[in-house]
Amino acid sequence: MALDAGWAQEWLRAAARAVAENRTHLMELDRAIGDADHGENMDRGFAAVVAKLDAGPPPATPAEVLKAAAMTLMSTVGGAAGPLYGTALLRAATSLGDAAEAQPDAVVAMLSAARDGIVARGKAESGDKTMIDAWTPAVEAAATAASAGAGPGAVLAAAANAAQAGAVATDPLVARKGRASYLGERSAGHRDPGAASTALILAAAAEAAGGPG
């Protein structure tokens, strides 16, 4: 499937489904090292995104879809994740410009812009046990896939796999940013909820692209 406005819509709808299915799981992760609201926040936000998509006229470009989603997340998620995902999608939209569809290089640029937006807002570095630990390997894997000549779907699939591995790799880390950092050493041995939701969202992007294509 071409990564057009239809794909972008399907991405967000698939993400909303994934977040809803994993609401309790994300809440459990956040309960262990945070305040138990990540699943609820993300579910509330993505449900609002879907409502927004349902209500509005079909946007013409993927950037328009992502921008609308960004604004909705920003005003419905709250907490740390709201501004971070909001900024990520806003930067992703800006990076896509008014292209009708995204080619592999544009996908890499989009993911990179999203990651950079999160860093700009949250100031986290790799290894701080945040969603950045899922985004950065995702961007790197996407870049590698794209330079190896993969199609847009395969680039997204590579990103999704790396994000998932990155999320798993947060398990042993001691948090240095976000709410989990208050726990100090006690944060080790638990997966970062934001990294886990990033993996879900990127898997949704790949799923919406219909696999390698």
């Binding site: 138990a36 609820e40 501004p83 240095r176 950092s181 208050y182 006690r186």
Partner: protein, 333 residues
């Protein structure tokens, strides 16, 4: 989970609506987006004070809206910071031409959402300053982390900065006194039993019958470490030591002391803690000039208490004593 609620998703809206009905003489509640402003907002020529954060800490923040304290409170979902689209209209609604101070508790979510709202407000021509409350000594303060959390000290910042704004101080002066309170206030808390976030439905941590959490925050997070149950005097000592050390309190110092209940502990227990805290401070030659004992910044129905100590100067005392008229703090009027 047993709670006096209807729909977990409606908890904040219904509760704030009830609050508005009960205190219609003091506040106006705006819904969609949700925020609470002082009845007579905007007060022309007065610096506007806005605070906010996740719900579940009642009476913070809406309970502190009124004369001599906050102009607006912005309630997020339970334990979740509010969003810029709530904070922005609250900010403009209380701008009486003298600018607005955002009092932000130091949590990534609150910081980011208030930051965005402040940018948007500035774009609309409102002068906005921010202070970051970070008084929790249970958390290490480091450049490489999110830093210390904002907890009980927030109540003192809101009150004392609110008093300064009420007497006509300009934005710079109000910001300065708020920062002076922040620089001189420290807190630490302990939990005997966790709370349950309505939308989560399970307690935010599990604690054995003989364990307590030391260094908890106000969001049902687990604390810094877990110890075997101790008596009230022991726990009080454990909480107060790091505070007095960090503030370097010594002979001749005067303080404002708050023994705060986390929501589920009876008042009688808070007074037992207060009794010991006063004795410990006295041993060091520190005088408790003013105090608060009660539920002032809570974590739903969590059982436990926190101590907050502010090193006072004369001006802070004057400001503290000036009239305040809010749902949760009221004197002099």
């Amino acid at each position: 989970m047993k709670k006096l609620i209807n729909d977990p998703k409606a908890v904040v809206n219904e509760s704030v609506e009830g609050f508005g009905l009960a205190h219609a003489d003091l506040v106006t509640v705006h819904t969609d987006p949700l925020f609470v402003v002082r009845k007579d907002a905007p007060v022309q020529g007065k610096v506007g004070l806005v605070s906010g954060g996740g719900s579940g800490h009642e009476p913070l923040h809406a309970g502190y809206v009124g004369r001599g304290m906050l102009d607006a409170a912005v309630p997020g979902a339970v334990f979740t910071s509010p969003t810029p689209d709530q904070i922005l209209p609250a900010t403009t609604a209380v701008n009486g031409g003298a600018g607005v101070l955002h009092i932000v508790k130091n949590y990534t979510g609150d910081v980011l959402n208030f930051e965005t709202a402040a940018e948007l407000a500035a774009a609309e021509g409102v002068e906005v300053r921010s202070v970051l409350v970070n008084d929790d000594v249970a958390v290490e303060d480091s450049l490489y982390t999110a830093g210390r959390r904002g907890v009980g000290g927030t109540v003192f910042v809101e009150r004392i900065a609110g008093a300064a704004a009420e007497r006509g101080d300009d934005l710079e002066a109000v910001t300065a006194v708020a920062q002076r309170v922040i620089d001189n206030v420290r807190s630490m808390g302990a939990a005997l039993a966790p709370s349950t976030v309505p939308h989560a439905g399970v307690p935010s941590f599990d604690l054995a019958e003989d364990e307590i959490e030391i260094g908890i925050g106000i969001h049902g997070e687990p604390g810094r470490h877990r110890i075997a149950m101790e008596n009230a005097d022991g726990i009080t000592t454990r909480l107060l030591e790091p505070i007095t050390a960090d503030l370097n309190l010594g002979s001749g110092d005067r303080v404002l002391l708050m023994v705060n209940g986390m929501g589920g502990s009876p008042a009688s227990e808070l007074y037992i803690v207060y009794r010991k805290a006063v004795a410990l401070l006295k041993e060091r030659g520190v005088t408790v000039e003013r105090s608060l004992v009660g539920n002032y910044i809570t974590a739903l129905e969590m059982e436990g208490a926190s101590l907050t100590v502010l090193k006072l100067d004369d001006e802070m005392i004057t400001l503290w004593d000036s009239p305040v008229s809010t749902a949760a703090l009221r004197w002099g009027v």
